[in-house]
């Protein structure tokens, strides 16, 4: 007498459609507001958008966009691990800096000279993840043991981490390579430079090798969140922390585990460039951790959504160059990025509400039809 679907999962159009329309509508709104900003500065928005598109689709730029997107994607996944349970790791920036610095410093230390290149890459990845997790664990412990909000602590640890790295780099472990102006952790031996991927045609340029790891990371993220018991507990905590506790989730352990994973992933954020481009840690690294928050928001913590968000962000970042050449202030791009995030967040919230209401109506229809049948059953059971 019930009509529950037994077989394969049905795609709920009523709920899915608003979710798909939302980001498109948000982008249109963002473009409209950016157009207003362009018009105010006496520039033709359509020309500007056309230049951005033409520039962004050049092979060289495609490579740069994918490079940028790889870093942003890793940062977004790091943030998303926390977001999924309602934990705000604003500290990806600091965790990624500290992690890359220590990993770089260790890997180019003279006592590591014996190590073969491949193994050294593995060492860098592993050390970066451990250090990132360790730095994040400070905030996790502060939260579970002393009730300090992770928003505050991770934000402060960003500043502290940045300063610790600067101090160690400039006063202790940093070296100045011949011909260079700035201090670095020392150039890695060439055998541990991560080879690029020739996946964009029409250019000599190669996409950073870490791109592949970012893709694997996205798949791993999806699997952990949707297919493991841990992922279920994580999501349950995000949906409803009280119900999660009542279901047997250990809230404190959850905070610590999620924060450690988030920190470990954050440790990877600077590695695409460090292994594939600069081959050393310099003070030039930074900023990606904060942008990762925006990308996670844009992509709604969804592995594919975040990938699209990261590519969009990479595209917008790279078009700063062409707008600059056209005499358009690059702040326009910043306005665009900001407006995009805001309108996407608002649009998703609206879409979720509309979708929820649509579904409630649908269930209302379905169960109202079943009501007379139910009454008969009660009748019989007398």
């Amino acid at each position: 007498m019930t009509t529950a679907a037994v077989g394969a999962r049905r795609i709920d159009v009523g709920k899915l459609l608003p979710q798909l329309i939302a980001p498109v509508a948000a982008l249109v709104i963002a473009a409209a507001i950016s157009s207003i900003a362009l018009l105010i500065s006496d520039k033709d928005p359509l020309t500007a958008f056309q230049h951005m598109y033409e520039f962004g689709t050049q092979p060289d730029q495609k490579v740069e966009i994918l490079n940028k997107a790889s870093e942003l994607y890793i940062a977004a996944v790091a943030v998303a691990f926390g977001f999924k349970m309602g934990l705000f790791n604003i500290g990806v920036e600091g965790q990624s800096k500290v992690a890359a610095f220590f990993a770089g410093a260790l890997a180019s230390a003279s006592f590591m000279d014996w190590m073969p290149g491949g193994l050294r890459i593995v060492l860098i990845v592993v050390v970066a993840m451990i250090v990132g997790a360790a730095w994040a664990s400070i905030a996790a412990l502060l939260k579970t043991q002393r009730g300090v909000s992770e928003v505050i602590s991770t934000l402060m640890l960003n500043a502290i981490g940045g300063l610790v790295v600067t101090w160690l780099l400039n006063d202790h472990w940093g070296v100045t390579e011949p011909g260079a102006q700035i201090k670095t952790t020392g150039i890695l031996p060439e055998d541990s430079w991560m080879p690029g991927l020739p996946i964009v045609s029409g250019t000599e340029q190669k996409v950073l090798g870490f791109f592949a790891i970012a893709v694997v990371l996205g798949a791993a993220y999806w699997f952990v969140i949707n297919r493991t018991r841990f992922g279920f507990d994580l999501r349950a905590t995000g949906y409803n922390p009280f119900a999660a506790v009542a279901s047997g989730v250990n809230a404190k352990r959850m905070v610590i585990t999620a924060m450690l994973i988030s920190g470990a992933v954050a440790g990877l954020v600077n590695l695409p460039r460090m292994l594939g481009e600069s081959h050393t840690y310099t003070e030039g690294f930074g900023g990606i951790g904060f942008t990762g928050i925006a990308v996670a928001l844009l992509g709604r913590n969804h592995p594919i959504g975040m990938a699209l968000g990261a590519i969009l962000w990479g595209f917008l970042a790279s078009s700063q160059i062409i707008l600059d050449l056209d005499g358009i202030p690059k702040e326009i791009i910043l306005i665009m990025q900001g407006v995009t995030v805001l309108s996407v967040v608002i649009a998703y919230e609206l879409a979720a509400r509309i979708g929820r209401r649509a579904q409630q109506r649908r269930v209302g229809v379905a169960t109202a039809a079943a009501a007379p049948a139910a009454a008969e059953v009660v009748e019989e059971s007398k």
Partner: protein, 506 residues
């Protein structure tokens, strides 16, 4: 009666939501100066109707007449302007404000926020015998007093017609009597009261007229002295009312849950649950009666392991006091939490994920460290069928289901793991009569199979009808035992207010 036009007249009200008719052709006449009860199952359309009358939703068809004048409300503001006030089931009061501050909040323009307002409040309170002190902090007030503050809030805004949405749900019998005294005072002064309820005995005790709503439409208007509660119920459900009573004892002498000296302390160190000691045997339902806020919620949370506590708890001979919630659940404790939205469900998650909740580590939901999506989905389909959860699919979000169906899903989920002991806190609160009967049946059947049940409820009939033994909790202490086969709701009610330290007659 006088020739006055009726206070409220609804003619042919119809409200459609896309695809569903929530109200169809509702006709209702409320005489001025009377208490008019509207009864119906949950989901019968009472709330929609009241929302229409209170201006929260416009009707698609039909007419509303207030004292003979046709009105059209586009918002509650319009309804308030026409003299309609609504007392919601859940109180909307700020604890750290005084009565005066709560009353004037949002109505500052009427009489200011100072002495004038206070004088007005005192005047209203005296006129209708509400006994509300304007300077008391709301946090120091009991449930009955808070409700009177809510009524005062509405009167302060000039209401002549009061809508009370299930006002007795949170009250003990003595407080209900006081409330009814207040309501009679109101109608004596010429006000009109619309009273929504599904507690039929109360309705018959207080109302002048009763209108029954079933499946969105008014099916009968009756006088309380002309119908029995059973006849009313029959009108409500279109069949006979199920009863929690009548079954033979299945109590064994094998203890399955032994609690000794259980004490839960609040943040200030004061005991919220104080030295609770009791035993549940296999096949036994032990009911805990008490006014809400006397420690029963904390008692349940301590046993399931969500709260730190002192004392010992033995489940089937194994000491579990030091265990965390997950281990206790795995060992055979089932839990129907008192607030299903807060503790029992992931509202935005699909039903099959809600089926996993609370049993994340157990088959058919898990395989090693992985979630067994196929197993969980198949078993959700089974629960939906066996427990009559009305839903078009197991992929809809839990929030889309009605309260009764949500609760049936929770009951089905907990029962599916054959708990040794089920902690059921208000298992049928806010669910319709049909679902209530089904839930009682499931608890009874599991009890025959040897399950022990700790039943916490505010519904004294449910407690008396289902329990094999009753304990009264007051101020965190188990103060009295009662025999459900002889005790009356009134006697229980007296014990629950702590009026006597002696045992109730048993």
């Amino acid at each position: 009666m006088t020739a006055d036009p009726p206070a409220v007249e609804l003619k042919g009200i119809t409200k459609r939501f896309p695809g569903v008719v929530a109200n169809s052709d509702v006709n209702l006449t409320v005489r001025k100066g009377t208490i008019h009860a509207i009864v119906g199952e949950n989901g019968a359309g009472k709330s929609t109707l009241m929302k229409i009358l209170y201006g929260m939703q416009p009707p698609d068809e039909g007419e509303i007449l207030i004292e003979g004048n046709p009105v059209k409300f586009s918002s509650p503001q319009g309804a308030i302007g026409a003299g309609i006030g609504m007392v919601h089931q859940h109180f909307m009061l700020a604890d750290n404000f005084t009565v005066t501050e709560n009353v004037v909040l949002g109505a500052e323009k009427l009489h200011g926020i100072g002495t004038q307002a206070k004088a007005k409040i005192t005047e209203i309170s005296q006129r209708y015998g509400l006994g509300v002190e304007p300077d008391t902090l709301v946090e120091d007030l009991g449930v009955g007093d808070r409700q009177r503050v809510e009524i005062l809030k509405v009167l302060y805004r000039g209401a002549r017609i009061l809508i009370l949405d299930e006002p007795t749900a949170v009250l003990v019998p003595q407080e209900v009597d006081e409330l009814f005294g207040n309501l009679r005072e109101l109608i004596r002064e010429g006000l009109t009261v619309l009273f929504i309820s599904h507690k039929l005995d109360e309705v018959r005790g207080v109302a002048d007229d009763i209108t029954v709503i079933r499946r969105g439409t008014t099916v009968a208007s009756v006088k309380p002295d002309q119908v029995t509660a059973r006849q009313l119920a029959t009108l409500m459900v279109g069949s006979e009312l199920p009863s929690p009573e009548a079954r033979e004892s299945t109590v064994t002498d094998v203890p399955v849950l032994v609690v000794r000296g259980l004490t839960v302390r609040g943040p200030d160190g004061r005991p919220i649950v104080d030295d609770a000691t009791f035993t549940i045997h296999k096949g036994e339902v032990v009911g805990i009666a008490g006014v809400e806020g006397n420690g029963q919620a904390e008692l349940a949370e301590a046993i399931i392991g969500m709260r730190d506590s002192a004392g010992t708890v033995e489940l089937d001979g194994v000491a579990i006091a030091g265990w965390d919630t997950r281990r206790r659940r795995e060992a055979g404790l089932g839990y129907i939490p008192e607030d299903r939205h807060r503790q029992g469900l992931l509202l935005d998650a699909p039903l099959w994920e809600n089926r996993i909740l609370g049993h994340q580590t157990e088959p058919p939901n898990a395989k090693g460290f992985l979630i067994n999506v196929g197993g969980a989905r198949r078993d959700t389909t089974r629960i939906v069928a066996e427990y009559d959860v009305r839903t078009p699919s197991i992929d809809v979000a839990a929030v889309a289901l009605s309260g009764g169906n949500q609760q049936k899903l929770i009951v089905g989920r907990e029962m599916s793991h054959q708990p040794k002991v089920l902690i059921a806190a208000h298992p049928t609160r806010g669910v319709d009569v049909g679902a209530q009967a089904a839930i009682w049946d499931h608890i009874r059947n599991a009890r025959i199979a040897g399950m022990g049940v700790l039943l916490i409820s505010a519904d004294l009939d449910e407690l008396i009808g289902l329990s094999d033994a009753l304990k009264v909790i007051y101020g965190g202490r188990l103060v009295a035992d009662a025999d459900p086969s002889t005790v009356t709701p009134e006697q229980l009610g007296v014990a629950m207010t702590g009026a006597t330290g002696e045992e109730t007659p048993s």
